[in-house]
């Protein structure tokens, strides 16, 4: 008679344990913000981050000038469209006049995203020409990164336009590592103190 009760209790406790695991899983889902400083790991992680940010898929929309870049050789965008105040182009040359909400089918046709734009004029967030040292410092400086704190920086890894880099449309190379690997390196860099490489 006792056995079924014990069995029942065991079952119940395993259900409770499973439930509590579920709960704790949910809790850990909100991204951990804790920083444990480790300059060596941080700089190593940034090496991967930098390789992605300087790839044409990221850098082409973070130009040094006011004209976006194009292609795997990062040439100036044909037709020389301009950034404009909001980063959405100017006059009869607004980005979304050609760039649709999704990639246009076909080789080298305009890639698309519902939010296609450059950084705005008052916050250019230039990648082109930045050394790893300069870019690392710029990325964590709210005055230069679009007023992003740690939380926003973490969330930015999953931003729609960032993700679009891995869906570039026909005829364009992908960033050097997968988005999952990039996100891992990005978080690692931030969580180990966002150290800038020496150069």
């Amino acid at each position: 008679m006792k056995k079924p009760i014990i069995l029942g209790l065991m079952l119940l406790s395993s259900v409770v344990m499973a439930l509590s695991f579920n709960v704790s899983k949910k809790e850990t889902k909100t991204e951990p913000l804790m920083v444990v400083k480790d300059s060596i790991a941080s700089v190593a992680a940034f090496k991967q981050v930098y390789a992605v940010l300087m790839s044409p898929r990221c850098m082409n929309c973070h130009p040094a000038g006011n004209v976006p870049l194009q292609g795997d050789d990062s040439h100036l965008h044909t037709m020389l469209p301009k950034r404009g105040v909001e980063g959405k182009g100017v006059l009869a040359m607004k980005c979304s006049n050609c760039h649709q909400a999704e990639n246009t089918p076909g080789l080298h046709t305009p890639p698309g995203n519902p939010n296609w734009h450059l950084p705005p004029d008052n916050m250019k967030m230039v990648f082109q020409g930045r050394s790893a040292n300069q870019l690392a410092k710029q990325l964590v400086n709210p005055k230069q990164n679009g007023n992003k704190g740690m939380k926003e920086l973490i969330a930015h890894a999953d931003d729609g336009l960032v993700l679009a880099g891995w869906n570039p449309g026909e005829g364009r190379s992908l960033p050097p590592i997968s988005h999952a690997e990039f996100k891992k390196a990005w978080l690692k860099w931030l969580q180990t103190g966002a150290f800038a490489p020496a150069k």
Binding site: L91, A92, M93, P110
Partner: protein
């Protein structure tokens, strides 16, 4: 296929189409509005430029579904009697050569003049660099835009 209602040049037009069909095909092939031209089909030349809610969209890469519920204006309705200051200036200065690119040029220029009623040469470059003219009428386009701006200031209504 889907039944879509478009507002083209102020009129409601019903079309039975694949919602992925380029707006340009709908305008030209289904609605017979052939003033808008097909040049490249990949947003490189500007020949297909029409206004969608006042913006100079390249209709060759714009799915018709994007234009549902929006105000679509083609060259046929840039003005009621072909008397937009740009059209008057265009005629006066004999801008077109073969004419193929010109409806696109006019639609882009109209957005420019609306946003910059007194454009500089730089503004003209910035606005018009996406409209290619294989006949090279660029100097006349520039002169006509300046002229139209002047006409507009003197009271000719767009």
């Amino acid at each position: 296929m889907e039944k879509l209602t478009l507002t083209v040049n102020g009129l409601a037009r019903e079309v039975n189409v694949d919602p992925n069909m380029p707006l340009l095909w709908v305008l030209r092939d289904l609605l017979g509005l052939t003033g808008t031209k097909f040049g490249c089909g990949v947003a490189q030349c500007g020949a297909c430029t029409v206004h969608v809610n006042g913006e100079a969209l390249r209709s060759c890469v714009t799915k018709v579904s994007r234009a549902v519920g929006q105000q679509i204006i083609t060259i046929e309705a840039l003005s009621e009697n072909n008397d937009h200051p740009l059209q008057l200036a265009w005629a006066e200065l004999d801008v077109p050569q073969c004419g193929y690119c010109q409806s696109g040029q006019l639609m882009s220029a109209a957005v420019l003049l609306r946003e910059k009623p007194n454009p500089t040469d730089q503004d003209i470059d910035d606005a018009m660099s996406g409209n290619i003219c294989r006949c090279g009428t660029y100097p006349r386009i520039r002169a006509a835009i300046h002229k139209a701006a002047k006409m507009q200031q003197e009271g000719v209504k767009p």
